[in-house]
């Protein structure tokens, strides 16, 4: 009799724990804004901006020999240097939300942010 009750309690406790764990894992996955670095239509790098703790940068080489330097800081991303003729991508400055992706047309490079919390499917501009 007591045995049965213990089993039920144990089972219920395990169920609650399991539920809490899976909820934590699932909600953690879609926590913050993720920046995608897309070269000629291919995502070459994904950066969860909410998990960046220190500034860093990297260089993206384009197939035709050009290059863009991408600078990453907590919560934001930009192209800090580029050898394209117009430098529109550098002038665009920091990107923090889904609004206007950074585009370097000459090097076919895009940095766009996908934020699951923003609740929009696309932005008209």
């Amino acid at each position: 009799m007591i045995k049965t009750r213990t089993w039920v309690i144990l089972f219920a406790a395990a169920a609650v724990l399991l539920g809490a764990l899976s909820w934590y894992l699932l909600s953690r996955r879609t926590e913050g804004a993720v920046a995608q670095v897309i070269q000629d239509g291919v995502v070459i790098r994904e950066i969860d901006l909410s998990r960046v703790s220190r500034e860093y940068s990297f260089v993206v080489e384009s197939p035709d020999g050009g290059s863009n330097t991408v600078l990453v800081q907590p919560g934001r991303i930009c192209i800090s240097e580029a050898d394209c003729p117009d430098k529109i991508c550098v002038h665009q400055g920091w990107l923090t939300d889904e609004s206007l992706p950074i585009v370097c047309l000459p090097h076919r490079l895009i940095i766009a942010i996908k934020d699951p919390a923003s609740g929009t499917d696309a932005v008209g501009r």
């Binding site: 009799m1 089972f11 169920a15 000629d40 206007l100 076919r108 929009t120 932005v123 008209g124 501009r125």
Partner: protein
Amino acid sequence: MLQKRKKSTLLCALLAAVLLAGCGGGVSPEPEEQSADFFAMDTYMSLRIYGGDEGLARRCQTLVSELENELSVVKETSAVYQLNHTGSAALSDTGADLLSRTLALCAETGGALDISVYPIVRAWGFTDAAADDASRVPSPEAVQALLEHVDYRRVRLEGNDVSLPEGMEIDLGAVAKGYAGELLAADLRSAGVESALLALGGNIQAVGSRPDGTPWRIGVQSPDKDGLLGVLSVSDLAVVTSGGYERYFTDADGNVWWHIMDPATGYPARNGLISVTVIGESGLTCDALSTALFIMGPDRAVSYWRSHGSFDMLLATDDGRLLLTPGAASLFEPEENLSYRVEVIEP
């Protein structure tokens, strides 16, 4: 004892059912997603298609590049390039359909939209990526001389054959993306697709609704660059925005000039609007009107809507107002703490 055991078994089964239901998610199967992200028509395009045959996304990309190959003003093999450089060309059926409908829109908007304004756009350096900002503003004499060749009414289209008078050049860039969206949407619908979102460089064309049946949520870019004006919930509609905030330059005296030219003056249109969003069934009409209404300014834009209807719009004015048609207001959810004063236009 037996009773108790039965009870606990039942309890276990119930708990297991609850847990499994939590993990399994919805019951209806999601249609398969296919996507294509690519550069075309001088912008970045992103297509998301739910359901339908494999290879549809690829086919859409091909359709866009075919259209671009015909309409490009810089590709030497394009029909429009040949037209601009020799004065005549033969268009495909699609190209002729686009041109005849666009010329009709030029007329309907009283020439606010004029595809022959291209030489002026070029004189202002908007076609040259390396133009020097300090010396880009053309002289009033140069603008005046070019204006003499701006008049869409002198474009002759007979069947698929088009010709231009001496000195005139056209560019369908103001309508090509909207038309492409409309074309792709029709193609996808005839292929049985009930849900797709086509973002052609900020021109949005929605096919049906989201796969879960709720409307697509389309953000409207704020002309102040930071964030959104709000969100539109749409199904089976095109949403096209024109603004001066994306392509502009600052001259040596600090004046800001943007790329939307007023065909009446040959100067960038500065008539009280900083952003225009048009919502409607035809991507081509939305694209054409977003440019034309921007050039008209708020008063003419409102009277154009009152007399023509069949579309909805959001107008952001340079004095901080956001004017919405009642139809747009019913789809629109403004951002919190929006700095614009929202006003609904009376029909």
